[in-house]
């Protein structure tokens, strides 16, 4: 029979089938292995961040509370009168004058006075901090360390806490917070969006819908692909030359006399946002082009068929059909900008700044810069602070990406169900 002669005997067929199945299983295992490896590395990242964010910390107080008020071990146990008198007595006259100038002691809340007393009188400093792993598994050596050093207070601390979100920076890791960096990141991302989104989408619409298929446009397209692969630090150098230096008059805000005196140079939120806008522009263009390409030509044709112009076709049919993909791509591009450090370091973001940004002409710092800066500090406790900042950044990125996904689902659902 034909099947026996050309395809071999039944036996051969069975063994071949076995071989084919085996090779399928081998590949499946390979793919599973790659997936597991990727997940493993992600978990390692999370574990190392969480490890540095929680753990025991040994603190030495310059002045112990019981030395100020007899029999009280914590400042928070002090009465109102005790607090006021402690501050009056122990604050240096210069600091006292400044504090009172900001707000007289009598008008401040108890909580406010407690934190003032802790900051200026008790002056706690971290002697040593441990990660979560050591705190749980190596308590013996922590105990030994505590026994060897007298006068230390050991406590379990979550470095990420509410006061970490709302405090500005500080020379003391116990008081350092992420507020200015968080606000700086938000401002920058806003500027980036405002500039990169309309320009990027506009360019993509031109390239995809209007541009002729000629050599010049193909060259343009190729270069946009290349630009999206340029290292971000190059964009930093470009931003430094163009926005910080050449356009200083504008980016420093000195052309508006009202804010001229607040900053003296172009190292502002505006420059940072514009630099990141340049960085994500090619990504947004390519994303948007892909979104426009996914709109079937039949939709365009049906619009032309009833006598629509090109712009009417784009505005009424092509854009509504692709807006979900465009927005999702844009948000993902913005998340990338949110995590960028190098270009902002190059254009000169401030690394220590305790004033919240108030306008686009303010000096700024951002979350990734703060993380970079904190993890480079010699004091070990700053690594814990950096860990907390990383969690903050990850939460922000997660929020943005979830927003993108939810919005895309919502729009595409609306498109399907639409009246």
């Amino acid at each position: 029979m034909l099947s026996e002669t050309l395809f071999g005997t039944d036996e051969m067929m069975t063994s071949l089938m076995q071989k084919r199945k085996t090779s399928g299983v081998v590949w499946k295992v390979v793919f599973l292995f790659s997936t597991s490896l990727a997940i493993l590395f992600l978990l390692l990242l999370l574990v190392s961040v969480i490890d540095s964010t929680f753990g025991y910390v040994a603190v030495r107080n310059e002045v112990e509370p019981h030395q100020l008020v007899e029999g009280k071990a914590e400042v928070s146990e002090f009465s109102r009168i005790e607090l006021e008198s402690v501050l009056q007595e122990h604050l240096s006259s210069g600091i006292l004058r400044r504090v009172i100038h900001e707000k007289p002691l009598e008008e401040r809340s108890d909580k406010d006075l407690v934190s003032l007393a802790e900051q200026y009188v008790i002056k706690p400093s971290v002697v040593r901090s441990w990660g979560l792993g050591d705190s749980l598994l190596d308590q013996k050596s922590i105990g030994a360390f505590m026994a060897a050093n007298e006068g230390l207070h050991l406590s379990f601390r979550s470095w990420i806490n509410w006061s970490f979100f709302v405090s500005d920076q500080s020379a003391n890791p116990l008081n350092a917070g992420v507020r200015t960096a968080f606000l700086g990141s938000l401002w920058i991302i806003m500027i980036t969006f405002v500039f990169a989104f309309p320009i990027g989408v506009g360019a993509a619409i031109y390239l995809e819908e209007y541009a002729q298929d000629n050599k010049l446009n193909r060259l343009l397209q190729l270069n946009i692909f290349n630009l999206s692969a340029v290292p971000s630090i190059i964009y930093g150098l470009l931003g430094l030359a163009v926005f910080v230096r050449s356009m200083e008059h504008i980016t420093s805000g000195s052309f508006l006399s009202s804010v001229a005196d607040t900053t003296a140079n172009g190292r502002t939120i505006l420059s940072g946002g514009l630099t990141l806008a340049l960085l994500v522009l090619p990504i947004i263009i390519i994303n948007t082009q892909e979104a426009l390409k996914a709109v079937p030509d039949s939709l365009r044709m049906s619009s032309y068929g009833v006598g629509a112009t090109k712009w009417q076709t784009i505005a009424s049919h092509v854009l509504p059909a692709s807006i979900d993909r465009i927005l999702t791509g844009t948000i993902l591009a913005l998340s990338r900008a949110l995590g960028e450090t190098a270009p902002l370091v190059v254009i000169g973001a401030s690394t220590f700044i305790s004033v919240d940004p108030s306008s686009i002409f303010s000096k700024f710092t951002t979350l990734p810069i703060q993380i970079y800066q904190w993890s480079a500090r010699p004091q070990g406790a700053y690594r814990n602070v950096a860990g907390a900042a990383i969690i903050t950044l990850l939460l922000l990125l997660m929020a943005m990406n979830s927003f993108a996904i939810i919005m895309r689902d919502k729009i595409s659902k609306k498109k399907r169900m639409e009246s």
């Binding site: 079937p296 039949s298 939709l299 049906s302 068929g305 006598g307 049919h317 509504p320 009246s419």
Partner: protein, 273 residues
């Protein structure tokens, strides 16, 4: 060229066509895609308030010729046309002619039903709105849907997304959408090829009704369809260089019962194609 021969052979048919008013005239039309010539030397006249069918084997250029009539080929990169296409004796390819205006007067229904992903109501109203319609939209939607024999099926769900209709209903909606802007000519590019026989039958009935108000040109693969709905049939052929050309153009009855060319006879009798 073919019509002259036919006039000599069959004078009674020629007289009949004499009475018909020419609305579109193609003369020596060559169409190129890049360096490839897809259609060569096509010349024919389309008569007002008649249904003209374009038939022929795949690749014979019948759809290409159809799209040249409302300048849809402009959308295709590298497409180029030579010769003249005249509509009411105006050159459609003259420099001062706006293709958007042409498409408004010469509407089009496509092979695959392609309603807008909007409501049924909006599918009809949108085209009218962008063209500055100033009448009553509700009335326009109703009359357009009635003309497309769709009103009774959708009158209770005008707000529903058009993509939820069946294929046949979608295609009739596309016809209604085309009618709504009141064109003079409707081009149909294999309008029933993606539909089942029942839906196809309805489209054919519809074409026969619409012929009273519009001039219709229909491209079809289905020779039965051409013979049922059309008054005139143009048979396109493809030569050995894969270039399409007009083999024969005649009143439908004559072309099917008494073809003047051997190729036509072979094609309609199913010897190839």
């Amino acid at each position: 060229m073919n019509t002259t021969n036919l006039a000599e052979a069959l004078p009674h048919l020629y007289e009949k066509s004499q009475e018909q008013k020419t609305i579109i005239e193609l003369k020596d039309v060559n169409i190129y895609y890049g360096s490839f010539q897809a259609v060569k030397q096509a010349s024919l006249e389309i008569y007002e308030h008649q249904v003209t069918a374009f038939i022929g084997p795949s690749g014979c250029g019948k759809s290409t010729v159809l799209r040249s009539i409302n300048r849809m080929n402009d959308m295709i990169r590298g497409a180029r046309i030579e010769g003249s296409v005249r509509f009411h004796d105006h050159d459609l390819y003259a420099a001062d002619v706006d293709p958007v205006l042409i498409r408004r007067k010469i509407g089009m229904v496509f092979q695959k039903p392609n309603p807008f992903p909007k409501s049924i109501y909006e599918n009809i109203a949108w085209g009218a709105r962008i063209n500055g319609f100033r009448g009553d939209y509700d009335e326009l939607v109703e009359t357009s849907l009635r003309s497309a024999a769709l009103w009774d099926e959708v009158k209770d769900k005008l707000k529903q997304n058009a993509l939820r209709l069946s294929g046949g209903q979608q295609q009739r909606l596309c016809i209604a959408r085309t009618i709504a802007v009141q064109p003079q000519v409707i081009l149909m590019d294999e309008p029933a090829s993606a539909l089942d026989p029942i839906a196809t039958g309805r489209i054919e009935e519809l074409i026969l009704e619409l012929k009273n108000s519009y001039t219709i040109i229909i491209v079809t693969h289905n020779m039965g369809q051409a013979s049922r709905v059309s008054d005139h049939t143009a048979f396109f052929m493809v030569d050995e260089k894969r270039q399409g050309y007009l083999e024969e153009y005649a009143p439908t009855e004559q072309l099917f019962l008494n073809p003047g060319h051997k190729k036509t006879e072979e094609y309609i009798s199913g010897k190839f194609g």
